[in-house]
């Protein structure tokens, strides 16, 4: 069972509320969900839509084709008509003879109850058409409009009105509530991972599509007693966050491409001062302003080479919303362990999209701050002490009695004082690079491999393409021996697995959401291995598994 619902209309028409109610309800009915948002860089008008895919099986990405369209305005019928599946249905306010359109007089029904709640009529109608009972939807309405009695009342009335206005067409049935699952969007997931890791200070400047992280952590600031600060610009944000860590707080910022560009110098500062920070880059297409509300994976090489000269840096890309929680948590521990900046490369696809995932399991989550034990500091404190593994004792001001803590952006000696001689420079460069060596040895995640042991083809992806690639692999499995290599850590690049796979003789098919095959170039620069095929997409829209399947057949196995 695999059912694809699209809610379409103008910006400002309340699509998000409809999505929220549907999502909650399906989830309570025990369905797996995967939703994506396609919206324009504007506040009202234009054409936006959200896709909710539901299934009794775990879902890993969006699919093409629409089973049920909630057309909140007339235009939407025209726009999406060609995508309708054969038995698909459109709920619309257009009176029409065509039998794939279910007419509903939503405005008429809402007029006397509450015209602003007109969308709930669509929700009610949708449930009836699908054959689902409304109890869970009623619950969802109550939770969504919490605190506002009269509004809840109106929405419940309209839910019922919608339900009663149409006929049942499908037979979806509830599957029963499953308690080990949750539904989360990627931006909240990054925020949640950070909060679980003990985030105390988040400073950022709003920028689509990263603002969801800011909003989520801000919504928790009071109850957790942490500080979320809106900076005057991204340069302030990154420097605030450096000050946060220096002051002893787990600190993070989030942005998108243009903001990341403004943070470049500050990320280098984190490198040379060895200040652990976490930066989320929720990618959107560029260059410059580009397509502000769309998705892409065009910042990879930029992130890996983010500032002048060289310094320890880690870049990792969550594979989906679930992974985003764990990877963000991990990012904080690794930043602290190696005293370096960690960039999390997310994107609009997972950032704005939601997915049913297994409930986050915290049993292996340990906050590891790696701060110096004051008892171990003897004599004058050396912030940049030479050590075997390059990691120096890190303290924050006020932590050590009778000792001050100095941090410096110039090349410096062990005490953080400015130096210019070649000898100290060489020692400090060596010290910093030892940290990368250790990181590679101890903490780098090799990509996950899924598929047969002797594949003819291997789909290679990084970050958010993992889900669509999983689906594509399954579709291809009937016809080909095809595996899937899914990278999490992209810098430093884990090379063992890809080298082994390349050596096996399987054809490598890189699938990336950018125009320049950036991951292919990165892998090649580190290993010499080159893709045999590149399936690329750079139009701001995510891949679906079906699309990859099709393009594989068109471009790879012709």
């Amino acid at each position: 069972m695999d059912f694809n619902i699209v809610i379409a209309g103008e910006a400002g028409q309340g699509l998000k509320t409809v999505e929220a109610m549907l999502t909650k309800t399906f989830s309570r009915h025990g369905y797996y969900l995967f939703s994506t948002k396609d919206y324009m860089s504007r506040v009202r008008g234009g054409h936006n839509f959200m896709q909710i895919r539901i299934s009794d099986q775990k879902l890993e990405g969006p699919d093409e084709g629409i089973d049920l369209l909630l057309a909140l305005n007339e235009e939407s019928v025209e726009i999406h008509r060609s995508e309708m599946n054969e038995d698909g249905t459109m709920i619309s306010e257009i009176e029409s003879d065509e039998n794939d359109i279910v007419y509903i007089d939503a405005k008429g029904l809402a007029k006397d109850v509450n015209p602003r709640a007109v969308n709930t009529v669509f929700v009610g109608a949708a449930f009836k058409i699908m054959g689902l009972p409304t109890e869970e939807a009623e619950e969802a309405v109550k939770e969504h409009f919490a605190d506002k009695e009269s509004i809840i009342e109106d929405n419940l009335t309209l839910l019922k009105a919608g339900y009663e206005a149409v006929e049942q067409l499908y037979n979806l049935k509830g599957l029963g509530k499953k308690d080990d699952r949750m539904v989360i969007d990627g931006n909240s997931a990054v925020g949640l991972g950070a909060l679980l890791a003990g985030l105390s200070y988040y400073a950022a400047y709003p920028m689509s599509p990263s603002t969801g992280i800011l909003h989520y952590v801000a919504s928790k600031q009071e109850e957790l007693g942490i500080v979320v600060e809106q900076a005057e610009d991204e340069i302030a944000a990154i420097n605030m966050v450096l000050g946060g860590t220096y002051s002893g707080l787990r600190s993070m910022t989030g942005t998108s491409g243009g903001g990341l560009a403004l943070m470049a110098e500050g990320i280098g500062l984190a490198g040379v001062t060895e200040t652990p920070i976490v930066i989320a880059d929720v990618q959107r297409p560029g260059p410059a302003t580009g397509l502000p509300t769309r998705t892409g994976q065009g910042d990879l090489l930029f992130a890996v080479n983010i500032a002048q000269d060289e310094f320890p840096l880690m870049v990792l890309a969550p594979k989906d919303q679930e992974d985003a929680v764990y990877q963000t948590f991990r990012a904080f521990n690794l930043a602290d362990k190696y005293q370096l900046p960690v960039i999390i490369l997310s994107d609009q696809f997972i950032g704005d999209g939601s997915k049913t995932i297994k409930e986050i399991d915290t049993s292996d989550m340990k906050i590891e701050r790696h701060l110096v034990d004051p008892a171990e500091v003897e004599g004058e404190y050396k912030r940049y002490k030479y050590t075997e593994d390059g990691i120096s004792p890190r303290a924050y001001p006020g932590q050590l009695e009778d000792n001050v803590v100095l941090s410096d952006s110039d090349e410096h000696d062990e005490f953080a004082h400015i130096v210019e001689d070649a000898e100290t420079r060489n020692k400090m460069v060596a010290k910093r690079s030892k940290k990368m060596a250790k990181l590679k040895k101890e903490d780098l995640l090799e990509p996950d491999y899924y598929g047969p042991e002797d594949p003819d083809y291997i789909l290679v992806g990084w970050g958010s393409t993992a889900g669509p690639l999983t689906e594509a692999r399954k579709m291809l499995a009937d016809e080909y021996k095809v595996g899937h290599l899914a990278f999490n850590d992209v810098w430093p690049l884990p090379t063992k697995e890809i080298e082994a796979k390349a050596a096996s003789g399987a054809k490598l098919v890189y699938v990336e959401n950018n125009a320049g095959a950036q991951f292919d170039r990165l892998v090649r620069s580190e290993t010499g291995i080159k893709a045999d095929y590149n399936i690329l997409k750079d139009d701001g829209r995510p891949f679906s598994g079906r699309e990859i399947y099709r393009r594989f057949k068109e471009e790879v196995s012709k």
Partner: protein, 283 residues
């Protein structure tokens, strides 16, 4: 009283002989000592420039960051540790030029910090280009016919913005400077001191003599009277007033975050278990 010598690191400085940075450092050390602050109770945030090298030459906690970015890293210390004395310090170019947007918005935040600007009206470290405060007639290798813009008057700017404490001082009067630092420390909220600091290497206009001849101590001035303060702030010519020019008590950054109370965020005890409930909210 903490021994003032404790602050004077014995490191060789990179400053030119005769530079105004030396008396500034002395005044600061003395003020810190007289205020009885131990080195570990003070944190200094600086940018890049000759002035910004201060944390290498005085013994307190120090974060010597990027050119123009002396203020942003200081914000967190204010929430992390309310007991820490926070000094932000840098040159006029770093603070008012590259870092202009940060002073603009941190005046609005009203962080409880002491903000010391070494105003030598020149870019020292990069060898003598105009800074925002340079006189219009200054000739430099870049400003070959004088500066293409009106000089920035930091005091008028800050008073115009109603910064909660605005003072001007000069290294030519060490006692006065010390006094200003102590006043700034006493003041609850953001406290800017723009300090005349002659650059003997590059600024041949604004010399010790130039300042000494012009500065006079404010008397009979009510710093809580904004209109009067604006008038005083505007004076920058043959006579230049020094002292506390404007003062207004208002909510500080911390106070606007009511739930912080007097907690030091750095002491926050975080346990993953305590946050399990966040996960449940997504069910």
């Amino acid at each position: 009283m903490v021994d003032k010598n404790i602050y004077q690191a014995d490191r060789e400085t990179a400053w030119c002989p005769g530079c105004g940075n030396f008396p500034l450092r002395t005044a600061l050390s003395e003020a810190l000592s007289e205020m009885d602050l131990k080195p570990e109770e003070v944190t200094m945030f600086t940018g890049i420039g000759q002035a910004a090298k201060m944390p290498h030459y005085i013994k307190v906690n120090g974060f010597n960051g990027l050119h123009g970015r002396s203020i942003p890293p200081a914000v967190a210390m204010r929430v992390a540790n309310p007991k820490m004395t926070v000094i932000v310090e840098s040159g006029d170019g770093c603070t008012y030029g590259e870092g202009g947007n940060h002073i603009l918005h941190n005046i609005r935040r009203n962080l409880d910090i002491i903000h010391l600007v070494h105003d030598n009206q020149i870019y020292g470290l990069t060898k003598g280009q105009a800074s925002p405060t340079s006189m219009a007639e200054l000739i430099t290798p870049v400003q070959t016919h004088g500066v293409n813009a009106e000089p920035f008057n930091p005091v008028r700017f800050a008073v115009g913005m109603k910064a909660s404490f605005v003072a001007r001082s000069t290294v030519g009067d060490r006692e006065h400077l010390k006094e200003m630092v102590k006043e700034a420390k006493k003041h609850k909220g953001y406290a800017l001191i723009d300090i005349f600091q002659p650059c003997v290497s590059f600024n041949k206009i604004n010399t010790y003599q130039w300042y000494n001849k012009r500065v006079y101590k404010l008397e009979d001035h009510d710093p809580t009277d904004h209109a009067a303060a604006m008038k005083v702030a505007d004076k920058f010519g043959d006579e230049i007033p020094i002292g506390v020019i404007y003062r207004e008590e208002k909510p500080t950054f911390r106070e606007r975050i009511p739930y912080l109370k007097d907690k030091a965020l750095v002491d926050r005890d975080v346990k993953v278990e305590d946050m399990e409930y966040l996960i449940k909210e997504f069910k």
